[in-house]
Amino acid sequence: MLSQVFHDIEKKIIHSLQPDQILTISEIEKKTGLQSDQVRRGIEWLKLKNFAHVKESTDIHYHFGEKGYEAIENGLPERRLVNEIEKGNTTFDKLKPILGLDFNAAIAYAKKNNWISITKNEKSTELSLNKDHQESLEEKFLLSHKTLEKNKTNEIKVSEDSLFAIVSLKKRPDFIVDSSLIIKKISLTVEGKKINLGDLSHSSGAIDVESKVPEVFVARTHPLKDTIDEIREIFVTLGFSEINGNVTQSSFWNFDALFTPQDHPARELQDTFYLDGISAKKIATPEQIRKVSESHKKNWRYYWDIHEARKMVLRTHTTCVTIKHLAENKLDEARIFSLGRVFRNEKVSYKHLVEFHQIEGVVVGKDANLRNLMGIQREFYKRIGITKIKFWPTFFPYTEPSLQTMVYNERLGKWVELFGMGIFRPEVTKPLGITKPVLAWGGGIERIAMLKYGLDDVREFYNNNLSWLRSARKCQ
């Protein structure tokens, strides 16, 4: 066994208990000269180290109550009733005023003892004594305490003879009261008894290296940010360059440039956050506006309104950043990605946030094709640790063909939808002067982070709940 280091308090307590004393706290106080809180603390330490036992026992003490003393003096109500009947007071009417509040109890116990008989006639209720009305056990017990002084601290001694009377009298209110006291008795364990206080190693100035210490918490980057950084890293290593753009965007780049008609249900207030009273002054070049509006008029057959395109929105996807970048730079060969917050006007729930992060990427090149797009997805998922994936067709207004990735969530035991992808429609690229095929994909990052951190409620990422942040594993 490693040598133990003991505090002075512990040493004094051990000393008082060796070789095999069983003491109460106050007895230890007396023997050691320590304060009671010092003793208490020392015992706790020794208990934690398994050197001391604390055995708790409960002592019950009995005293006479107000009524008890009254009965000692005047007799129990049922005895007083018997005495009155003997005096000739035999009707309820006469007895009630004499016995007062004790009347009901007197009748009940006298009947229970079978001392009296009750006969009812028209005028009154008559009582008569039965043959046997000898002294009861309760009375005997009370009489034996005739000399007891009326004092609350006077304890009743419990003996085999008196136990029945005590239990029976306790049922009557305020005859006998009890009080319980918890007594802690402290003794040393087998290990405690073995301690040799003479051993120098216990007092060589060493500290208790095994004791508990206050908790400190790591400061860390946010778990969601870690996931975002990890995803950014993956795309950089796959040859993609990051671009940034504004969170607030004109409807033109968020919707019109992406072939979403102005009367499309997705553009309505219920799905999109429009900024109150804020419109963009300059949205795009006159040529871009003209060509985009022409594509809408031709394909969707409606009146295209530039005021609608000027309305500022909180971007519903990061695709607006990408398409603007492509329209401005007219790249022939490129791998680009964008990461950031996007917004949907939805009711907040464990599944939905009004604001979440999206990763979105594009590949531009004359040889960009659907199988390559699927290959990039598969490689990305592999790198974040998801290998069970499949592709399903789906629909987006601005891509054709369009696919979605389904990944298998082992914990939920089902396929869940992750990234959407496709090739930008000619109706999107042509008006903006983009001539090469553009593979595009994107999706929510929170969904991936939920898989990584095993969360079922997406709101947890924005609660800043310190108990979670302080405990969430850094390396997943």
């Binding site: 860390r220 940010k225 950014r232 907040v348 067709p393 310190l466």
Partner: protein
């Protein structure tokens, strides 16, 4: 995404010899998501560009193709008839200029079929009808109507018995007192005249785009149907009609034509259209090397017809497939017919070198500096509430940026500072042990003539002995390590901070932020007790 409820047993009857498993395996490859399943019933999410998938009749047509019980294009067999005609009065041109229609005979209608027709109608109204504004549809019991019909206008005192009513109501009453009237009345604007379809006996058939007449209601006893579509342009109205005609034919009805004339209206043709696509585009886009016969068989599985013509493939597209705009849409149809599950992903080496945005690099290192100083990273929404951003902190709300009609009361305005959100985060953690030190790096929004965005860093420290010197020490080392510069703090006042314990942060004489002790009253508003010190600085815009 819209949802439709289907029955496997009904689908099996419609598709032909296929198993339940074949159906459930194939649905996703039509682009349909199974939302939930309960014994025979399945709820399916479909894309808004495919209104034909709003009924089991339409989904069955798609499944037949994929499962090869029937392939190729669905041709409409419309019997030319002179019995049915609608004449259009020129007065409708101002309110709802176009009407079109078709007759469908000898069908069997049970409760489930009526339900499918209703979801179809709802989908058409909501999607391509743009909430009935662009076009709307009415389905009637043909035998309750005497032809020819007239499409005209009436004034708002005109009365008839509308669907779901027992007594006559005036147009004004319908618009004011019925649910559909209230929901769609605005489409008619303030026009005194409203569109109306009357039959030869002057009985009302329909008051488009609001409600049908009660007399023409379709029940399980109905055998013959009359369908009318009205709208603001002819093409959209006929697109809608083509979906209904296709579905009704698939449901076992025989179609007969309706003649339409007057005020630039004419009878619908519902013709198939031809489109050419090059095999090169198909193979280049999909990354495949399919020969023409494989391409043609794939298109047929997608319920289109195709043949080789010279170097190209000519595709025949039925009228109801108006979601096909151009050759790229046909590429997708080939992919679907070929089977997405048969496309093997490939990873080509990158021709480009990747790099992070410079801002990301500097913000990542700032995060590690802050954690190194013992601060935990927090994330708050950019959309917040007036209570947190302005009321509790007593900040100036004159440049508030609100969003319209938010569904969440906690997310109604854009933050112009990170500090209120972090104080609120402290308020959510009063039961956790102190000291609590948090930081956030994020975008804030300023109202100018439009909106400008800035990136800020904010830090808060809260514990019993938190004080100005502590947070200024942190600030100094942060500014030193990100800008390589020293900063100064100059006395100022701020409603969120304690008077005499707050300063502007300046670097090279320019104010870049604020630092101080949070005031007692701010703490009270957030029900916080421990002292809080904080700084917020602008990083870049």
């Amino acid at each position: 995404m819209p949802v439709v409820e289907l029955s496997y047993i009904r689908l099996q009857k419609l598709v032909g010899k296929v198993t339940k498993k074949q159906i459930s395996d194939s649905l996703p490859f039509l682009g349909l998501d199974i939302e939930s399943e309960n014994k025979d019933l399945i709820r399916i999410e479909y894309s808004p560009n495919r209104p034909d998938y709003s009924t089991d009749f339409g989904i069955a047509l798609g499944l037949q193709g994929l499962l090869r019980t029937k392939t190729g294009s669905i041709k409409l067999n419309i019997k030319k008839s002179k019995k049915y005609a609608i004449s259009v009065k020129s007065e409708v041109s101002k309110v709802r200029p176009f009407v079109t229609g078709i007759v469908a005979k000898n069908g069997k209608i049970d409760d489930k079929t009526i339900k499918q027709f209703m979801t179809l109608q709802e989908d058409l109204h909501f999607g391509i009808g743009r909430k009935r504004k662009k076009s709307s549809i009415g389905i009637h019991d043909l035998d309750k109507i005497t032809f020819p019909l007239i499409y005209k206008t009436a004034n708002r005192n005109f009365k008839f018995i509308p669907l779901n009513s027992k007594k006559e109501l005036s147009i004004s009453e319908i618009l004011k007192n019925t649910d559909v009237g209230k929901d769609y009345g605005s489409i008619l604007g303030n026009s005194l005249q409203v569109p109306l379809i009357l039959d030869a006996k002057q009985n009302t058939v329909s008051f488009p785009p609001i409600i049908n007449a009660a007399v023409t209601i379709v029940t399980t006893k109905t055998k013959n149907l009359f369908v009318e579509v009205t709208g603001i342009n002819k093409e959209d109205a006929e697109d809608m009609l083509s979906v209904v005609a296709t579905i009704l034919q698939s449901a076992g009805f025989t179609l007969e034509s309706v003649q339409i004339s007057g005020a630039k209206n004419s009878s619908p043709k519902l013709e198939q259209k031809k489109m050419s696509v090059s095999p090169f585009l198909i193979n280049q886009t999909l990354g495949l090397n399919l020969n023409n016969s494989k391409i043609i068989s794939s298109l047929k599985k997608s319920r289109l017809d195709a043949s080789t013509k010279g170097k190209n493939i000519i595709c025949t597209i039925p009228a109801y497939r108006f979601d096909i705009f151009g050759p790229m849409d046909l590429v997708e149809e080939v992919a679907l017919g070929y089977g997405i599950q048969n496309l093997e992903p490939i990873l080509s080496p990158s021709q480009t070198l990747g790099q992070k945005h410079p801002n990301s690099i500097s913000l990542q290192s700032l995060s590690s500096i802050m954690t190194g100083l013992g601060y935990m990273e927090a994330l708050n929404s950019s959309l917040t509430s007036k209570r947190i951003l302005y009321d509790n902190t007593k900040r100036d709300s004159s440049k508030i940026i609100s969003v319209l009609d938010s569904k969440s009361l906690e997310h109604t305005i854009l933050r112009d500072s990170l500090l209120p959100g972090l104080i609120d985060s402290l308020a959510k953690n009063i039961h956790e042990s102190y000291p609590q030190k948090l930081f956030e790096i994020g975008t804030i929004f300023n109202k100018t003539s439009s909106v400008t965005e800035e990136t800020h860093l904010c830090a808060v420290s809260s514990h019993k002995n938190a004080n100005f010197s502590e947070i200024k020490s942190i600030l100094q080392s942060v500014i030193q390590s990100i800008f390589g510069k020293t900063c100064e703090t100059k006395t100022t006042t701020h409603t969120t901070f304690e008077k005499g314990h707050v300063a502007n942060i300046t670097v090279n004489g320019k104010i870049i932020g604020i630092i101080g002790e949070i005031s007692e009253s701010t703490k009270e508003n957030f029900k916080l007790r421990e002292s809080i010190v904080s700084f917020e600085v602008k990083l870049h815009s």
